[in-house]
Symmetry: C2
Subunit: 134 residues, 2 copies
């Protein structure tokens, strides 16, 4: 599997854990380095594994959360780091996310996530590969 | 100068160019790699040097834009890449930003920027170093 495919797979796994409310998988998918960080829409930043994982535990505990699909995921690799941009399409709103990954022990794990309100993803364009995982 | 100080300096330079409407400096501060990207608040993502620089030219051409200060900038370094989180405090609103930097030819240059609506920055806390550049 190419690095790009592996990173997009890790990005998919992150959203599958999100959609499935899978707290254990979500914990496992985040990098082990102490400086992981997360900016949920409308929240202050969270820095450090304890705060980040605690936030996901709280979000995933809500089984009534809206479903969404992922579109337009694109990955750029820089040695052992990667930056993914993708769109989170909810029924009533769209978010655009920056997801940063780091290669740890051969696995690409997420180390930073920021999602924020956005117009719908561009319908087409050379920079966009539409990829839906639900 | 430590890597961390150098990255925070590059982050300051990015915002000084922004505040001073300095299109030339802004162009110079962005990395030369072709995959730079930018997500302005409420915009779709922009990928590639032409689109990113064009967007800044358009934003910086508006000399009536509101002034702001930068608070809470913190940098984490990963070899030749760095992730900065900071707050952009406008009079009527706060944005939180993820800025990714890459070391090119010895210089830290910005390669990705996402800014989005946020509560005001935390007043204190071990994860926050308050740094105001205006």
């Amino acid at each position: 599997m190419s690095d790009q495919a592996a990173v997009l797979f890790a990005n998919d796994a992150f959203y599958v854990a999100f959609m499935n409310h899978d707290i254990e998988a979500m914990d496992d998918l985040w990098a082990r380095i102490p400086t992981i960080s997360c900016i949920h829409p409308g929240w202050n930043h969270l820095l450090g594994r304890d705060l980040v994982i605690e936030s996901w535990n709280s979000i995933l505990a809500n089984h009534d959360g809206p479903s969404f699909t992922i579109e337009g995921a694109m990955a750029n690799i820089y040695n052992d780091m990667a930056v993914v941009i993708c769109y989170e399409e909810f029924k009533m709103a769209t978010l655009v996310a920056t997801n940063i990954f780091v290669r740890e022990e051969g696995f690409w794990r997420i180390m930073h996530h920021q999602a924020s309100a956005s117009p719908p993803p561009p319908v087409s364009g050379e920079n966009n590969q539409v990829k839906t995982i639900q």
